[in-house]
Symmetry: C2
Amino acid sequence: MISFRQANELVINALKKLTPGTELVSILDAQGRTIAEDVTSDVDLPSFNNSAMDGFAIRFDQSIRSWIVKGEIQAGNFTNSGNYSSSGSLDNLSAVSIMTGSRLPDGFDTVIPIEDAFVREDNLILNTNARLVKGMNVSKKGQDVLKGETVLRKGTFLKAPQIAALAACGKSQVRVFERLKIGVLVTGDELIRIEQTPSGDKIRASNLYSILSAIKEMGMIALNFGIARDNRSEIKAAMAFALEKCDVLVTTGGVSVGKYDFVKDISGELGIETVFHKINIKPGKPVLFGVKRDNGRLQPVFGLPGNPVSSLVTFYLLVKANMLKCFGLDELTSVKAILRGDIVKTDSKRHFIRGFLERDENGNVSASPVGLESSGNLVQMSVSNCLIVIEEERINPLSGEEVECIMI
Amino acid sequence: MISFRQANELVINALKKLTPGTELVSILDAQGRTIAEDVTSDVDLPSFNNSAMDGFAIRFDQSIRSWIVKGEIQAGNFTNSGNYSSSGSLDNLSAVSIMTGSRLPDGFDTVIPIEDAFVREDNLILNTNARLVKGMNVSKKGQDVLKGETVLRKGTFLKAPQIAALAACGKSQVRVFERLKIGVLVTGDELIRIEQTPSGDKIRASNLYSILSAIKEMGMIALNFGIARDNRSEIKAAMAFALEKCDVLVTTGGVSVGKYDFVKDISGELGIETVFHKINIKPGKPVLFGVKRDNGRLQPVFGLPGNPVSSLVTFYLLVKANMLKCFGLDELTSVKAILRGDIVKTDSKRHFIRGFLERDENGNVSASPVGLESSGNLVQMSVSNCLIVIEEERINPLSGEEVECIMI
């Protein structure tokens, strides 16, 4: 049995060896994808000296505190002999009314904010105590990025701010990694399709749906391989079929040590090398992780436990969290919170308890455990929005203590 | 000019009056949607008394500390005359080996964990100091939810845990609200299509792409109404056309007080009532918000500023954050962090500064400002993952102070 930290290191090592293909997509379809190329700008940004404020553009001269307003510049309609030049050529005594983002006349270098001066007839007069510094309130050509400079690096996850940068740099299409195909196969004689009504000791295969949904939430392609019975040949055939179709395979069930827990044996028969079996966590101890190697290609295979809460929790912890780390999503996915309610924990496993994370009016974050009394309680899990982490060495955390919470 | 808090209240009031239609979707397509019906369970959950542990099922009797093991129960293959009954009928002295989740024999009520007893030949003997309490380690029929009980309420946002609950309750299809159609129209004579190379004082319409992407990230339908010139008739025609096609309209540019800022006037001509114009924030002060009412239908119209950073920041703050509040996403979207770097702020506006939020090894969260020196810097915004909030009354926050950060 290995630690949670070791398990994650081993999973990340394997995931890093995945070699997804790439495809060219419109940047309008690129959000939620990971960029597969370094992108450089085809222009200087800004492309021209422009005003950072609404105000008046001038040519800085230490000795001058008033100017003659010779027109105005409207964004997008600048020409060097434009609107303002009808009032004559521009010199050190000239000012031009200018809006934020508009281009400065050539040779002009400084912008006086509208609130720092007043206009009387055509004269602009600086307020007595206003500050005047050469170059102030001007965004200079190329100050954000120079033509040819790298703007986004391969491996960056694309959301709206990155799409904006691509658009500004003239990338209307961008090369991204193909979405990984993640297959899900659930195993167990107790499982029935959700359209059926359970009788006896059957349960609906809710696993299949929760994990397929979690894969879609990650922006990956979810492949549904359905339900296999606890029968060696059925599971083996289903896993072999799934391995041909997907980049990563997730199974549930059959990984404990019972007489009918076939998944580990079958994995061996299918050429999947076991990387680890069993982690010192709760829920999810029996997780099996292996890799299938074939001509330099590597397929990670996650054997998650069959309990519907355990399977989704271990999917979040081992599959989703590590996938996001490996495929560029650099975000805050866990926070510290104040525990509301005592938790009984006397073993040395790392526990992940479903919880509800919320902020009060003062911005203090608290986490209330839910579903403590029933480990398979999907209804309570459906009101949780985090996993409360209780570390290995921690015993019986009490209400009011600080805990780490993984947002789900 | 109104406060940020007032602005959000007014936006939420309007958004709550939106009346999206509903549609029935497979639960495999329901993740990221908001449920439009209360859902009840068609079964008790669990549907039968089952074991919460791997161990031995018994009929509790205070006086008995050892039992005869009469078989085992495999999940999904229980019958009351099943495998175990080959060893004879069950009485108080009988135990049955049982796996987590498996059904208990009728009349059996207690499970001894595997580690609390040992088996010698066919005899199960409780460890001397092991605890034995009637009903222990049993999940009882109906303890999570009873048949007919409400499991998810209308308005709940659906992610994997909620999909799991729907699956367990027999909902293979679920009624969800239709995705809102949010249109984007960018205005300005300075804007060119991103495929073009800017010359003179033109800039690429990156706004259009960032906001369309942000809409898609929210799971809504993004409608692209392109670029309109700073020309009354062109903007009016484009807004009128867009209003016919979308539920919510977002425009950028033309909302300041310059000679060419037509959007407010045109909104009035199109029957859009101004709810507010200008908020005490930076960036984004000139935001215009209005509603168009038509036969009881209400369309919110957001007029965001033209600066590409300001438009995306105000989209996040006013459109996205409030939409998520109104359409069920109940998540932690902001956290407290330690500021890394001083910020100059001497006015009484609420500032939102692009920042990079990260955790160190000890789980401490810090936020470093990015792009302070250039308000329109999309390249720096593309390395940010949060907005650092500097409240109205706060002056020059210093490195080491606590700040609130909105994750983007």
